[in-house]
Each structure stands twice: as structure tokens, then as C-alpha cells.
């Protein structure tokens, strides 16, 4: 690294041009830099929030800033992997609030990247729905609290298919759906469909069983037209595809533009993607972070977040405060019986490589 600096410096100074202006500028810049980096050390009314894109409405940030006088710096990521690699590469980077999904919560706890929550500072804990608490990814919720949830099920366009005939993941294997389905381009989610349809755990690590699932999913490949992650809403709205995997929140939003869309919670079970608030170990504003979590746990705020993002809230008080048409929407808030079939992911450790390996083979050998 010193070499890089010195080569830069020698670029700037030839024997005859010693002391030319740009060189001074460069040193001045370094001086300002070192001063400003020491100033940052002191406590300050700042909160650095790092969330999924579209997960934290501006109005909520605005209200928090007004009520507490804490300035919020909000940046966004597109995948758990991006968040994880950023924290892993530089644990002191200074994010105070993050929202990883359940499997990454358990991975981050294992790798000591998260800070235990001080529950004495959280007054609205009781608002949370027990269905989403005390899960395998974080027993006792020592490190994380649920923020929003989605379910991965089946989207059906009733103009083309009778929704009553599709109740199970296994229905997607029928040969009449050749080259018709959309599959979600996410290793764990895609495999969960195969695992659950065979009656295995969604967090299976046994190589033999994974191989079995691989073979089963290989049969499905003939029916799949496209793998997609980010444009499901437009694909289903425009009827480019009329049947396939989907997120309940996405189909709820898509149904507003195309009323023919239906969402089905498969009878064998479905994965609930639970995104949770957590505080990284290197957070410099832990107090502010707790204030933020408590703020978000309030029924009104939680309701607003859920309404603006379109995803379901794990906050019982917020759910009850929702307008009737949302609270009774069968896609967003299914009955208790359906919810019992919901499954939660945890980190699968070393088996993750096997999942990746099989996923690549599925795509390549097809």
C-alpha cells in the first residue's frame, strides 16, 4: 500500500517540479481526511441504517428524525450476500441497524457479527406476534426481532388455470405445464420447494436426501420457462407467465393491476422469509439503534411500514390496526391453520455448498 502512495507521489513530483500546486492539494486532502476521521469518534445523534431496498419508507425515517432529533443515514442492499460480505470485510464499517433474513441471522450469530439486544430499552416488545418469535434462527430472540415477512407459494392466473386444481407443490410437476412455470432464482428457496414436496425439512443437510431432491427437481426443469428474482410482479401482471413460484406480497401488489392473479399456500408447507432487525457488533450508536427498534415496534409505525412496502407485518398490534381489506386479505394474512404450515429457514452451514453445486448443475445440464 505504501508503494501505491509513493508511486502516486512520484507521479506528481519530477526532479524539476518539486512543490507544484497539485502536490500540496493532495497533502491538504490527507490532512483534512485524518482530522475528519478522528472527529467521527465522538458520540453523536446519528443512526446508520442498512436495509433491503424499498424496506424502509421515507415517511418513517422522517418521523423518527423529528421525534428524536437523530439524523438517519439510510443505505440499501439487494441481497443478504451483499450485506454479509460488507460486514465481514469490514466489521467496523459503522452500520447500526441491519435487516438480514432468518438464515443469515443464524449465520451472523454463529460468526459473532451481531450484538445482543438490551430488551430493557424496548417497551413495545409485546406488540410482536408470537408466531414469529423464538425461531430456530435465533432462539429467545437474543439478537434479532422480526420486521417483515413474506411467504413463498404458488401464483396462479385464474384466466388460464383453475386455482382449485392446484393445491400442492407436486401439482407443478404435471407434464401439461411444459415450459410454462416461473421459478424463483434463489438456491435455498428453489430447493425448499423440492424438499417440502418430498416431506423433508427445508433446512436439510443430509447429502443423500439432497441428492434425491436434486433428481426430483431435475424432472421439473422441463416445465420451467424462466428463473427470475426481481421482476415477478411485471411478469405475472403482463401474463407472460401464468403459473409458478411467487411471493405473497408481490402477488398482492400485482393483483391490484391484474385481478386474475391468485396466490396459493401449498398444502405440504411453504417457506416464510422472515427479515429481522439486528444490531451489528461494530455499531457505534447502539443506544440510538435501540431507540429506532423500539420506534419501529410501535403499532402505528409498523403498520405504515407494512402498508408502504406491501409485505406482511409480524407485529400483532399493527396487524389489528390495519384497514379491514388488508387485515382480511387471504394472501397477506392467511388463517392460523395455513400459518401452521409455514416453515422458517436457518443457516445450513457447509451444506450450502452442496445446494449451490446442485443448483448450478440443474441449470447447466438442462
Amino acid at each position: 500500500m505504501n508503494m501505491m502512495l509513493s508511486s502516486l507521489r512520484s507521479l506528481l513530483s519530477s526532479p524539476r517540479k518539486r512543490g507544484s500546486k497539485p502536490k500540496y492539494l493532495f497533502f491538504a486532502l490527507f490532512l483534512i481526511l485524518s482530522i475528519s476521521s478522528t472527529l467521527v469518534q465522538a458520540e453523536e445523534p446519528i443512526l446508520n441504517v442498512y436495509t433491503w431496498s424499498g424496506y424502509l419508507p421515507e415517511s418513517v425515517i422522517h418521523q423518527f428524525q423529528q421525534e428524536t432529533g437523530i439524523r438517519v443515514n439510510h443505505s440499501t442492499y439487494a441481497s443478504n450476500e451483499a450485506l454479509y460480505s460488507k460486514l465481514k470485510a469490514n466489521p467496523d464499517i459503522g452500520y447500526d441497524i441491519i435487516i438480514p433474513s432468518a438464515d443469515f441471522v443464524s449465520r451472523m450469530i454463529k460468526q459473532d457479527l451481531l450484538q445482543p439486544l438490551d430488551k430493557t430499552k424496548l417497551h413495545y416488545l409485546k406488540n410482536l406476534n408470537p408466531t414469529f418469535l423464538n425461531k430456530a434462527c435465533d432462539p429467545g430472540n437474543l439478537y434479532s426481532l422480526p420486521y417483515l415477512w413474506n411467504a413463498y407459494g404458488i401464483a396462479v392466473n385464474q384466466k388460464y388455470h383453475n386455482p382449485k386444481t392446484i393445491t400442492s407443490w407436486n401439482d407443478l410437476w404435471q407434464s401439461k405445464y411444459k415450459e410454462q412455470l416461473l421459478a424463483i432464482d434463489d438456491t435455498r428457496i428453489f430447493f425448499s420447494m423440492g424438499l417440502v414436496s418430498l416431506g423433508y425439512s427445508e433446512n436439510e443437510t443430509n447429502p443423500k436426501k439432497l441428492n434425491e431432491v436434486f433428481l426430483k427437481l431435475k424432472d421439473l426443469m422441463n416445465n420451467i420457462k424462466v428463473f427470475n428474482l426481481d421482476a415477478q410482479k411485471s411478469i405475472y401482471i403482463d401474463e407472460d407467465i401464468t403459473l409458478g413460484m411467487a411471493l405473497n406480497g408481490d402477488i398482492y401488489l400485482a393483483q391490484i393491476e391484474n385481478p386474475n392473479l391468485q396466490f396459493i399456500f401449498p398444502k405440504e408447507g411453504f417457506v416464510i422469509a422472515l427479515d429481522s432487525l439486528a444490531i451489528p457488533k461494530g455499531a457505534k450508536h447502539s443506544d440510538n439503534a435501540h431507540r429506532f427498534i423500539d420506534f419501529v415496534l410501535q403499532a402505528e409505525v409498523s403498520k405504515q411500514i407494512s402498508l408502504e412496502t406491501g409485505f406482511s407485518t409480524p407485529n400483532r398490534a399493527a396487524e389489528l390496526a390495519m384497514p379491514d381489506n388488508i387485515r382480511n386479505n387471504p394472501f397477506l394474512y392467511p388463517t392460523k391453520e395455513i400459518m401452521k404450515r409455514g416453515k422458517f429457514e436457518i443457516d445450513v452451514g457447509e451444506a450450502a455448498r452442496l445446494y449451490e453445486h446442485y443448483f448450478e448443475r440443474l441449470k447447466m445440464e438442462h
Binding site: 508511486s7 517540479k17 492539494l25 481526511l33 476521521s37 443515514n73 439510510h74 440499501t76 426481481d230
Partner: protein
């Protein structure tokens, strides 16, 4: 004969227009969709200015856009200054390791962004510098310098070396030569270098991902992070506005250059 000639011109024109079509069609599609009255659908649902209005009220998007512009302008300016001086040094003076330095510049241009990004991250964390505005600015200056140097250097090679010797003969000092002869001669390439740096800085994702901190988010990272939930039409509107700005900048450059040529 005439017929063949005509055929040839038609062929040439259609070839050129095909190239331009491939280059510009995606941009026009984006601009058209910024007027589409639908949040998610890619089908045409009617004309609307809604997304431009939303953009006006979306302060978060505005802030990151302004952040990006600040970084791009500062990085382009510093990089142009440093890069120009470097190019002139490489051209005018003989010193130990000159050839090595010259080829190192090309290596920096060829080296993948991910290598630059990670090595800068390592540098900053070893030096215990908090990631944020300053690290981002330094990194952007760093990766822009080689481009400016190469552009300015290639213009220098085309110049008559005797010009500088004559100036020296007439008693001009180094700084006078730099200010009164080199800068005016190099002006078009300096502006070109600035514009290229500005563009590079404005759309860099990979290096910025590694070196920016929680307090300073920029537009390319923001847009990139939307890929999971889908890019909002407001982003189409913002990109259209930025395309308009770029167009304006290029027109201004052409206009200034033409006036200048007329002046001399």
C-alpha cells in the same frame, strides 16, 4: 453506374443507422417507460408525468443523486489536474523509472474494478480510515487519473516538440510554458479527460460498493440495490433527466469547441 452508387449509399446509411439503433434503442425504451402509467407492468398503460412528480418529492433519491454529482465533479476535477500534470511530466522530463511508471498507468486502466476495489478497501482498513465521503472521493480520483493521463498524453505526442524549445529559447520558465503553452494546446484533451472521469465516477458500482460507508450512499449503488424488489419507474424518470443533462453537457462542449476554433 448511378444505380450501384445509390445502392452503396443506402447500404452505408442503413449500416450506420443500425449501429446507432443498437446504441440508443435501450435508452429510448427507458425514456418511454418513464412516461408509462403503471408501477410494475411493462405494457403501455397510458401517458403520465406521475413518476417525474414523485421524483420531485422523493428526497432520498434526490440526495443520493446529488451525492453522486458532487463526487463526480470533485473526482473529475482533481483527477484531471493530477492526470494532466502526470502526462506532462511523462512527456517532458527524463527520470529514473519513467518507462515503468508509464506502463503502470496502462496496467491500472486494464486492471479489473474488483481488484482496485478490494485493494483500496484493504488500504483504508489498514490505515484505519473510516469509510465514507473521503474514501469514496480518493478512490474515484485514483481510478480516474490513468484515463486522464492517457488521453492528455496522446494529445501531447501529436504536438511539435520544437514549440517548447522555442519558448524556452525566448526565456519562458517551466511554469510559464505550462500555463501559457501546454494548457491552451491541451485544452480539448483536458476537457475530454474531465468528461470521461465524470462519467466513470458517476456510474461506478463495483469500487464504490467496497469503499463507501454508511453515511454516504450514491446513486449507482442505490439503483443496483433495487434489483431485488424491482426498479421503480421513478428511477426511469431520474435516468431520463440525467440523460438529458449529459446531452446538454455534450452540446455545450461542442458549442464551446466550435466557438474556440472560430476564435483562433
Amino acid at each position: 453506374m448511378n444505380y450501384i452508387k445509390n445502392m452503396n449509399t443506402i447500404r452505408k446509411i442503413s449500416y450506420a443507422s443500425l449501429i446507432y439503433f443498437f446504441l440508443y434503442a435501450p435508452i429510448f425504451v427507458l425514456i418511454i417507460y418513464s412516461f408509462n402509467n403503471s408501477s410494475y407492468s411493462f405494457l403501455w398503460q397510458g401517458f403520465t408525468l406521475r413518476w417525474y412528480q414523485n421524483l420531485l418529492h422523493n428526497t432520498e433519491l434526490q440526495i443520493v443523486a446529488i451525492h453522486s454529482l458532487i463526487i463526480a465533479i470533485l473526482a473529475a476535477t482533481f483527477a484531471t489536474g493530477i492526470g494532466t500534470v502526470a502526462a506532462v511530466n511523462l512527456y517532458r522530463y527524463k527520470f529514473f523509472g519513467k518507462k515503468l511508471l508509464h506502463s503502470l498507468i496502462f496496467i491500472l486502466i486494464l486492471s479489473p474494478d474488483i481488484v482496485t476495489g478490494i485493494s483500496l478497501l484493504v488500504l483504508f482498513s489498514v490505515m484505519k480510515i473510516t469509510l465514507g465521503f473521503w474514501t469514496l472521493l480518493l478512490s474515484h480520483i485514483t481510478f480516474c487519473i490513468p484515463f486522464v493521463t492517457v488521453i492528455v498524453f496522446s494529445r501531447l505526442i501529436g504536438q511539435d516538440k520544437h514549440l517548447l524549445e522555442a519558448a524556452k529559447d525566448l526565456g519562458a520558465t517551466d511554469s510559464v510554458i505550462f500555463r501559457r503553452i501546454l494548457i491552451p494546446l491541451l485544452w480539448p484533451s483536458i476537457i475530454a479527460g474531465w468528461l470521461i472521469s465524470f462519467t466513470l465516477s458517476l456510474d461506478d458500482v463495483i469500487i464504490s460498493f467496497f469503499v463507501t460507508g454508511p453515511e454516504f450512499d450514491i446513486l449507482p449503488l442505490k439503483i443496483f440495490s433495487m434489483t431485488r424488489v424491482g426498479v421503480k419507474p421513478e428511477v426511469n424518470a431520474l435516468c431520463s433527466v440525467m440523460f438529458g443533462l449529459t446531452l446538454g453537457l455534450v452540446c455545450l462542449y461542442q458549442f464551446a469547441m466550435r466557438n474556440r476554433d472560430r476564435g483562433t
